[in-house]
Symmetry: C2
Amino acid sequence: MREPNIYGSDTLDAELAPQFAPATSDLPPWGKTTVVGAAVPRIDGHDRVGGTAIYTRDIALPGMLHCAIVHSPHAHAMVKRIDTTAAKAMPGVHAIITCDSPEAKIPWILTNQGAFSQLLDPHCRYEGEEVAAIAAETPLQAADAARMIVVEYDVLPMVVNYEVATKPDAPKLHAVGNQPSPARTSQRGDVEAAFAKADAVVERTFHTSCEMHVPLEVHGSVAQWDSGKLEVWDSTQGVYAVRDSLALALKLPLSSVRVSSHFMGGGFGGKLELGKYTVFAAVLARMTGRAVKCVLTREDTLRSVGNRPANTISIKAAARKDGTLLALDATLLGASGAYPTGATSSYMLLDLYTCANVRAVESSVLINAGQARAFRAPGYPQAAWALEQVMDELAGKLGMDPVEFRLKNIPVVSQLRSGQPYTSTGLADCLRDGAEKFGWAAARKRPANKGHVKRGIGIAAGMWGSPGGPTATVILKLYADGSANVNSGAADIGTGTKTIFAQVVAEELGVPVERVSVENADTGTTQYAPSSGGSQTVLVTTPAVRSAAADVKTPLLALAAEELKIDVDKLTIRDGNIEIAGDTKKVPFSALRSLAQRQQLVGVGRRAPHPVGKVGLPFAAHFAEVEVNTRTGEVRVVRYVAAQDSGRVMNALTFENQVLGGVTMGIGFGLTEQRVLDRQTGKLASGSWHDYKIPTAMDFPVDFQCVPIDLQDKECNSVGAKGLGEPATIPAAAAIANAVCNAIGARIYDAPITPASIVNALASKGGK
Amino acid sequence: MREPNIYGSDTLDAELAPQFAPATSDLPPWGKTTVVGAAVPRIDGHDRVGGTAIYTRDIALPGMLHCAIVHSPHAHAMVKRIDTTAAKAMPGVHAIITCDSPEAKIPWILTNQGAFSQLLDPHCRYEGEEVAAIAAETPLQAADAARMIVVEYDVLPMVVNYEVATKPDAPKLHAVGNQPSPARTSQRGDVEAAFAKADAVVERTFHTSCEMHVPLEVHGSVAQWDSGKLEVWDSTQGVYAVRDSLALALKLPLSSVRVSSHFMGGGFGGKLELGKYTVFAAVLARMTGRAVKCVLTREDTLRSVGNRPANTISIKAAARKDGTLLALDATLLGASGAYPTGATSSYMLLDLYTCANVRAVESSVLINAGQARAFRAPGYPQAAWALEQVMDELAGKLGMDPVEFRLKNIPVVSQLRSGQPYTSTGLADCLRDGAEKFGWAAARKRPANKGHVKRGIGIAAGMWGSPGGPTATVILKLYADGSANVNSGAADIGTGTKTIFAQVVAEELGVPVERVSVENADTGTTQYAPSSGGSQTVLVTTPAVRSAAADVKTPLLALAAEELKIDVDKLTIRDGNIEIAGDTKKVPFSALRSLAQRQQLVGVGRRAPHPVGKVGLPFAAHFAEVEVNTRTGEVRVVRYVAAQDSGRVMNALTFENQVLGGVTMGIGFGLTEQRVLDRQTGKLASGSWHDYKIPTAMDFPVDFQCVPIDLQDKECNSVGAKGLGEPATIPAAAAIANAVCNAIGARIYDAPITPASIVNALASKGGK
């Protein structure tokens, strides 16, 4: 088990390592494409909506047992005694593990300072931490028996307010203290000197709330052992990551652990790592010799499997009269939860705009609450919330249009990556095209409306700092009838990955999309691909898909040349046919007898190396119009334009879907979502969808437009695409906050903007 | 659907086609091996005997329906009317197809003369032919409803005696007559002239009975549709062959059909082709939108899914005084069953011994009985039964020892393959080593015993004429911890294929066998391999496994050289370590950081081409000692030596297992197994294991010895192995027949040798 690093610094390291790449990686960039980019419906859409797709919860194995988990009801406590006598006697019960079992000692949350916990730890550091697990014949028998386990606790002092947790006299979660890692400072230039030269300075402190992933499909696993080999069905974004951690936890060779996730219903970063539920299933299955299913309840997922940590971000920013951004000085504090992890990100603060003098001081702190985890652009929406509001305030002080002010400071190189030029910088295009589609200039000039419902417009920009992780391998099989199968370990977490893979094969080989099948996300049968997270799936794995498709061309042409008795140089492949120079005859692949004899041709593709000396990153600019009811404090987002530079659009439908989902998540982050922990007990007060409100279709703007900036990036990789998942959500909440400020003439610094905070802001404004 | 050709002439063609092979195919032959050849227990042995292995019958899908089939009770009849009204009203029934349904028209048994039948044919040509299929909620509901289908037949004249079926006035099964293909003549030299010069001539006619495959696991499939894609679990020897036929039958792209067979319980050639039960499951699943399971009853498998056809073989053979075989002249007639297929093989007759003048005339004939299918060395045991008894009679006439006579005529080249030399000819070694181990010379001198239980010894030789089919591709993944996964489409039909694949990886890369996992026999996830039949799995696919393992060595060494900063020429791989020339330090794969960064290395292996101008074929010589009770006619095989030249022994345990199984099957063929069709009705009289007697452990000789002739063939392929499955059974029955003759002094020409035929032979001998 490795330390979960929600900011992916491992990824950045790996990217710099030398890479093996076959000749076919150096494919020339595509020009205009016909299948790639088209609005191709998902190849598994029918399975997903028709109910035939098999998710982890649907797995039913002969003799399968069901697992229930016993949780600590206290935010901080030590288990004194566990009595399983009554539970063991309950009907259907097959096995129980507790803090007292040998299996409890499996180390958990490993860092270079050692393990911070174990599978079942008598020291419970948040409400919901696991103290026992049961396997029984039915889910209800397991749940009933779980209630019969008697646990006595010593309740300890607790802290759930992360600012309080930094104080010296705060209750401590671990012997090393609540802030085991020192604050980290990143800087360039001379910030103090720059402030001295400034024409305008803004200094503000922002708070963001803890947000939950709430994927439609809850977390869960099914485990089964065969002859010392472990097979796991898991709802995960990364079958390889889960396999590796599981093998390490259970001391098994990697080849003895098979993890698959053929269909999964959303992760958003919350399903990148091994879960305790998976280990419970595996351990209980080994003890009982039966398959074991362990699926969390919705309440469990809200308590125990991750969140976007609350941040406090203070920014002091300075600019010159002409709009040049002079300096940014920021401190960031994030709430890790009960175990150490970084809980802030300064990347976007330091690199979204050209700025010679920047400093960011980041620290994280432990609290008696569920653990922070990667969550769609970890740290970025928080940073955008603060930075983009400060940018608006600076523009206001300078008397500049917020769009113009941002355009004044567009980066042309990556300041954080040794000044390497970007393969393409669509930020300016996002701002200009988005503003035009939104009608920004006209809307700015519109007079304020008179009624109690105020309209306002806002803009925010964003970027995502990862160009993708390590190499991926893809196998392509071209069958004798000209149909094909693509094999990759990448999970399709709902974004349409499988469909895009099929389109890439169709584009490169001319095989129709409906004749391409996809086998994915199974460590037993598929090739390695990095986890589907960090907006990297398309840019890391589709170049390998293209490379694999190209790799069957050589033997295919050689076979055709031999069979047709025509010089190989005269043959080309187009639309599933062999074409002959100077001849109108087309020979379909399926007509090649030599292909039929071989049954199939196999192509191997690997990701091409990153471009040398350049970096490809995605950008976005979002424009929001809101209506604020000044009597009730309600905010409605009524109009929205999301301009995205993610390089080539791979699929017009899934592109828009991703952006739509990202904006929805931003609306929740900005307006409604908030984990509430009871101050007296540390217990979760928002443990259901009644109490934790995520936006629905009713909260989404009717007037929504996605504006892809299709720059045809020819350098970032052989398909020309950059990431989309994260940049689609990063600026959304900040754009809404700026629009709210524009509507009511008062700025709200803390997310989410609730009816109460609107009323408070209006009251403060009145009192100013 | 292609014409099932049980004699694999497709295979012989494909073998001559040009083949793609990467550089790694030209691996130097292994010298002495340590893991390959060892008695490694099966890696899936625990699954198989522990009950955790999932066979097709164990598949249980949510909402799965069950299929029952309605069969013709007549050997020859025309359906007049089918009434499904009552059946449709039965509880649990979801769908019914009959001869009247559109699906009935799916063509079946295609030849270049067109389709000879359809999925549900109103013209029923044998008892058990399918006329309707039902899908219902439970197996019993399906069976009950099947009984409620009312079918009215016009009963037609029938013929089940294949010699009668050749007569002009016999009832005709098809408009083209009972012998649609003309007799085929193969010959070399001048047979008539040779007979004129002979010192000894023998002329005999032999009959063999129809034998059934009776695999432990009955035939069956489960089918499920998702978005127009079909997934099938099948008990098959060849997932690719089934996929191809199914795609053709249902007009689907190959990429839309997935067929898997992770565990299967025996096939013996009877599970090489698409079965009607598979199409029933697929069609009913499409109609109902539910998964459908169709598993045959034992009675169905005995009637409908294949057999070793009865043969009548007449041989006239001549030799010179010095033991030189001068001429062989043979006619062969085989019983195809209700649809055309070749039902004889002259290969062994024409090529086992050096003989300048040979002729074989082969023909097949249709009868109103279940269809012949490939069966462990199709045609060879029948040919051995005749040839090897004639060889003994010739030796007797010449006054020569039967072993000496055979040794006199050992082939050094393949006369049927343009005189190409064999890569190795172990026939002489089989005869010599086998005779020595058996104590042949001493046993020959032993005086006949006095009592009513007579002892006798016999010998027979054999060969198998196929060097294996088209190319196979294998993918090998080496993981970061030095464990590995091998991916191949080959089914492990109980012979230990998976174990041998793991051994080959272990041998080539030094990864321990228990750290190699195997993914196989799934067209959705694995690479193409020919069907597991014709003794070709080891020799076609393991060279590709070795090649794939070798293919990861190059990048592995390059990574190691870069990481260790040592010239790549100084590095070698041994036992899972990188070794450095002139340094005792060993670096395990798992210590390579650069391997961990890449997560895995992928190697692609393909079968090397056959050796140019040479041919590698396996040989065998079996020695049997029997006790014949002259009062009861009972025969017991009491001692047995099987000497096998199959090149390198890949696994000492599975090698002996295969030979043991082959000899068991030969005992059945020679002594007990016989399909009995009622002469009056054409109905199967031996439709259960009570009436169709296969040998058990009680019938197997206690004193059994397997003698591998481990010639380390360095030319046949890169692993040095030739086939074993077929040659292990070919000579067995003939050796027993020769031993019976030696015991009682009378020869029995028809198989099986029953107590009645012993008594008759003794009576005839007395009367002579």
